[in-house]
Symmetry: C2
Subunit: 314 residues, 2 copies
Amino acid sequence: MRLATLQDGTRDGRLVVVSPDGGHSAAAPMPTLQAALENWAEVAPVLAAISHFPDALDPAQILAPLPRAWQWLDGSVYPSHGALMDKALNITPFKPDWPPMYQGVSDTFYSALADVPMADEALGIDFEGEFGIITDAVPMGVTPAQAAKHIRLIVQINDWSLRKLAGPEMRSGFGWIQAKPPCGMAPFAITPDELGDYWRSARPALHLAVDLNGQRFGNAYGEPMAYGFDDLVAHAARTRNLVAGTVIGSGTVSNENYREVGSSCIAERRGIEIVDHGEPRTEFMKYGDRVRMEAHLPDGRAPFGAIEQRVVKP
Amino acid sequence: MRLATLQDGTRDGRLVVVSPDGGHSAAAPMPTLQAALENWAEVAPVLAAISHFPDALDPAQILAPLPRAWQWLDGSVYPSHGALMDKALNITPFKPDWPPMYQGVSDTFYSALADVPMADEALGIDFEGEFGIITDAVPMGVTPAQAAKHIRLIVQINDWSLRKLAGPEMRSGFGWIQAKPPCGMAPFAITPDELGDYWRSARPALHLAVDLNGQRFGNAYGEPMAYGFDDLVAHAARTRNLVAGTVIGSGTVSNENYREVGSSCIAERRGIEIVDHGEPRTEFMKYGDRVRMEAHLPDGRAPFGAIEQRVVKP
């Protein structure tokens, strides 16, 4: 099942179920995705039973599946990303034996086709292509096996980042505020069964194609997460209950063979350049620059649709 | 003007205006505090004009003024707190020339009289007494002077903390997830004019009395913030718009003469003990322990009411 949220003048939009071909939709019997997640066990079969999709889907009307969420927690579980970021940001953080995770701004998730305002071109504007999941209500203290059952939807995320601010904020020990403006989300939130065998140990076995200004930038593979989303949910829930609609991210998709597959953010490529040339050579984004992100199954299907965002002056 | 939120079976409760004596209330014409903040310029005069308070106020029915918020950002701007915490947590973070700030869980603010479930007694359960403010919508890039005008309400907060997890999470550079379960809020949110001359340069000139299991633990003074709430709002808004209902905290209230005034959290006292004796001596909280926090004006009035919370097993 694929779900989308359409503009209707409200902050949370209007929930629809998307047709198998991605071109049509049917109104859901509850107003919002948040409302559906708060009652998922009852609601999901009702939504899944919808088989008639009367309305043409206009991509320009699609918001993020959750245009705002009560909680956004982003992990960083691709080891090659962490290693390259340490070089790019010139930091040597303590490497924990648990998944690094920060809490980010959740009151806004930009739609897939949004123009994204950034405060200043000089701040090192960067994208981060990643996967995410959305939970229903998760009680404090769940095990990873229990947590897996609370992963109700999978999403694709662009975690916008301002790199010039990232290193100092990390060194403060408090994590990121200014370095992490709101994220974007691809149009469709999908249930795990949509991925079939490509949802493996709570990891998405898809390639994430990333294009910067029309040029292929990376096509990293999603599966080699050091921790699965089940582990991430359990980590987040160790000392708190997670509310329905909690969004948890994987961190930038990255592979050990990054010279072959490329990168899902600019900073990582700059880290590679520091290794190779002693200095970074790829510039960060400027106003007007565009990034496109689309995850693919081996048969070419793009279950989340594509993010195509442009950086603009506020 | 003092506002409170009463239980009504919904997550966001029902907004009331509180009588000058704190014992009565009048229903507000809009359902929730969040709704009021989204339209504050129009709404505030309507609420302020209410002068008849027909309903007796039952403390047991009072929720946090915002039982959940779209954003909670906590600063740490009392220099003596930072210095003692570094000793207590055995860390030496980079000291930035801006106010340290993290984003915390905002989907739950416990009511003032709540029993607060903590995952494990062994995690170093601690309180943090602090002040906070609530904004209306703040545009990206405001100056501190502009930010000051968006400070619509002042609140008193207990920022619950799990100290055994705090140091490792800080060293990871990602900030706190497990070390920071939800906070509690005192019953009343107040407009800045309620403090009169005791709201100075966007700082609360009040003493915060903190009692642990009935014994006075601290009575630190709120004014000596290294950054005012105007600076904190501007810092938070540098690269993001702040939604109406954003809550921003001061961090633990702490004074340089901590040997005289005591502390607003246990970890800080342990930091002093490490200085004095080479080791901490005060235990963290156990299940059943109680903390009380009440800020006072010089005339003895407690404008926010009191937090009285007990730690319990989940």
